[in-house]
């Protein structure tokens, strides 16, 4: 065979490199997908064992108020009612989002519409820095500042939903703010110019034009903040009091899914009911993060259709 023909028919060095590189990339990406699948499989298999293996009624699990998996109630059924934790988690998440939203959107409007120069110079770096502050630091501040202040003002121990709300509010504020800024900046400049040219004041422009066209982005920012608040563990665990009781008011010790999980998982034996019940809590967390994900997608799709 002549050398030219041979070199044309042989697989070139480049082609080999190409194949190897492609395989390498494929390997990395499959690893990630595999990990996601494994997380779902393991959390679900342990979390569902409460219902299949230990025969706990799903409805009872979600609605009963007594959480003490080691003991049994008068009917001989273990006391695994997760309602206090579910309510606690939702309450702190919703309250934190309610408090954070006006602040975050206000700050975002300030940065994009009112005083972009000062906003970008001072507010933006500060929020970016705060996104990176570890959650234990927020928890520590909550424990040493927020809880004593609440104790002074309202009596009791100071631990509870209110303290958790406050800590989460400060925690999600930077995230929601910087995402809101992105949403507002995405509004085309000519929207504002058209509105101002019609004689609208700056506030009218912001309220009637800018905010409305940025609504999907702002909603995404809020849902994202809520997802973060719902899954936050240690900062909340440090200030909420960790009593698996229905919260009677905002300053009585309560608990969230994450706080009971972090407290309990090390003290239970693998495969026991106590342990499985905790995994069921983890499963609820997992499903809720899926719900938040879905919400963000729905909002994105709706927003995309309008423009």
């Amino acid at each position: 065979m002549d050398p030219i023909r041979e070199s044309l028919l042989k697989v070139s060095h480049q082609a080999k490199l190409e194949r190897r590189g492609r395989l390498l990339g494929l390997f990395c990406i499959s690893l990630i997908v595999l990990v996601v699948a494994a997380i779902f499989y393991f959390v679900a298999s342990h979390g569902l064992a409460t219902f299949y293996h230990d025969k706990i009624n799903l409805w009872d699990f979600l609605t009963k108020q007594a959480w003490n998996p080691g003991t049994k109630d008068s009917h001989g059924v273990p006391a695994v009612g997760a309602l206090p934790m579910i309510v606690g988690s939702f309450l702190v998440t919703i309250f934190a989002a309610l408090v954070a939203t006006p602040f975050a959107i206000g700050a975002a409007i300030f940065m994009t519409e009112i005083s972009p120069r000062r906003g970008m110079q001072i507010l933006k770096p500060v929020t970016e820095l705060l996104v990176g502050i570890p959650s234990v630091v927020y928890g520590f501040i909550g424990l040493t500042v927020v809880v004593p202040v609440i104790r002074q003002l309202f009596g009791g121990t100071g631990f509870g939903i209110l303290a958790g709300t406050f800590v989460l509010f400060v925690m999600i504020l930077p995230t929601v703010t910087s995402m809101s800024v992105d949403a507002l900046q995405a509004v085309p400049r000519y929207y504002r110019e058209a509105s101002l040219a019609l004689g609208a004041t700056r506030w009218q422009t912001i309220y009637k034009v800018v905010l409305r066209s940025a609504t999907p982005g702002l909603l995404t920012a809020i849902v994202f903040g809520m997802a973060r608040a719902f899954g936050e563990a240690l900062a909340v665990q440090m200030v909420i009091g960790n009593a698996a009781l229905m919260p009677h008011n905002l300053v009585s010790p309560a608990s969230t899914l994450t706080s009971i999980l972090t407290m309990g998982i090390g003290n239970t034996i693998m495969g026991s009911l106590e342990n499985n019940a905790l995994w069921s809590l983890a499963l609820i967390l997992l499903l809720m993060s899926l719900v938040f994900n879905l919400l963000i997608r729905l909002i994105g799709r709706k927003g995309a259709m309008k423009s």
Binding site: C28, F103, F110, G132, V136, T177, M238, T258, G266
Partner: protein, 299 residues
């Protein structure tokens, strides 16, 4: 009230909100730094922690944090590079790719406790690594991979397609084009993302409580053989990190000077995060000048 007055009022309210936020955030930083910085001495940074008496330091925890960070980044950087390159350069637009993207998105939004519990189940129990640095590093990899991958993908996607065409026109394979032309040009963005990811890993605690453990056994800083049990480099020893330490001493409450120690440790954490942030910016720009022909003359 007419519209002009409304406008004034709204502007006033917005100014108040903005200054309130700055006030809250500034007092937060000031509180930590004022409470913490006086504690941060060389002695504090190098002595081991004490459980039942005052005067302990954070030496071992600080070392653990950095060692864990290095290990986690060693595993996650190559993986995320490979995955990011695949997604941006090779993946076709079909249902499989969108499934991959969805799963990465889901992984990035999972609560870190859930990731930590998964790590506990897999690495600590199934693989029998025990509470160890190795388990911790693997969990941090899982925790960090989706964000790093997305960052790599976005950085690569922002490079103009002319560069790819030029590479292919010169007879390079696609892989060579990516590794020799596209990645170097995207390096500033990739590095910035990696450093920010490192900052996130440095402060993570929830994922580590049940993987890297909550105890910091004494280390022998004279023996660096990785197989020796008290060696600082041994990847199979339990390793409480700085963030976990803050959580633990506050929720246990047996250390008499827990508040002071956590304030000091928090200050160290915040300064570290600040340094990560600043160096991400500086390093990105520096690399950009070095790797491409822009900027400095004769480079």
């Amino acid at each position: 009230m007419n519209v002009k007055q409304q406008d004034k009022l709204a502007t006033g309210v917005l100014y108040t909100i903005a200054s309130l936020i700055i006030l809250v955030l500034a007092s937060l930083l000031a509180f930590i730094l004022i409470q913490g910085l006086p504690r941060v001495t060389w002695h504090f940074l190098t002595t081991p922690a004490r459980s039942f008496e005052a005067g302990g330091g954070i030496g071992i925890q600080l070392f653990n944090s950095f060692y864990l960070l290095v290990l986690a980044m060693l595993i996650s950087v190559p993986l995320s590079l490979g995955a990011g390159i695949y997604l941006s350069e090779y993946a076709k637009k079909n249902w499989l790719t969108s499934l991959i993207r969805t799963s990465i998105e889901i992984l990035s939004s999972l609560p870190s406790v859930v990731v930590g519990l998964f790590g506990f189940l897999i690495f600590v129990i199934q693989f029998k690594f025990g509470f160890s640095i190795l388990s911790g590093a693997l969990v941090l990899t899982v925790f960090n991979l989706p964000l790093l991958t997305r960052n790599v993908e976005e950085s690569l996607a922002s490079i103009s397609s002319m560069q790819r065409e030029a590479g292919l026109a010169l007879g390079l394979s696609r892989w060579e084009t990516v590794t020799r032309i596209i990645v170097p040009e995207a390096l500033p963005g990739i590095t910035t993302g990696m450093i920010l990811g490192a900052g996130r890993v440095f402060g993570e605690a929830a994922a580590l409580i049940y993987t890297a453990g909550q105890s910091a056994p004494a280390l022998d800083f004279t023996n660096w053989n990785p197989f020796y049990i008290a060696s600082p480099l041994n990847p199979l020893r339990p390793a409480e990190t700085l963030a976990v330490h803050i959580w633990k001493i506050n929720s246990e409450g047996i250390m008499p000077d827990a508040v002071a120690v956590s304030a000091g440790a928090s200050a160290v954490l915040i300064i570290a995060v600040l340094l990560f942030n600043l160096s991400a910016r500086w390093f990105g720009q520096h690399l950009y000048q070095k790797m491409t022909s822009s900027g400095k003359k004769g480079a």
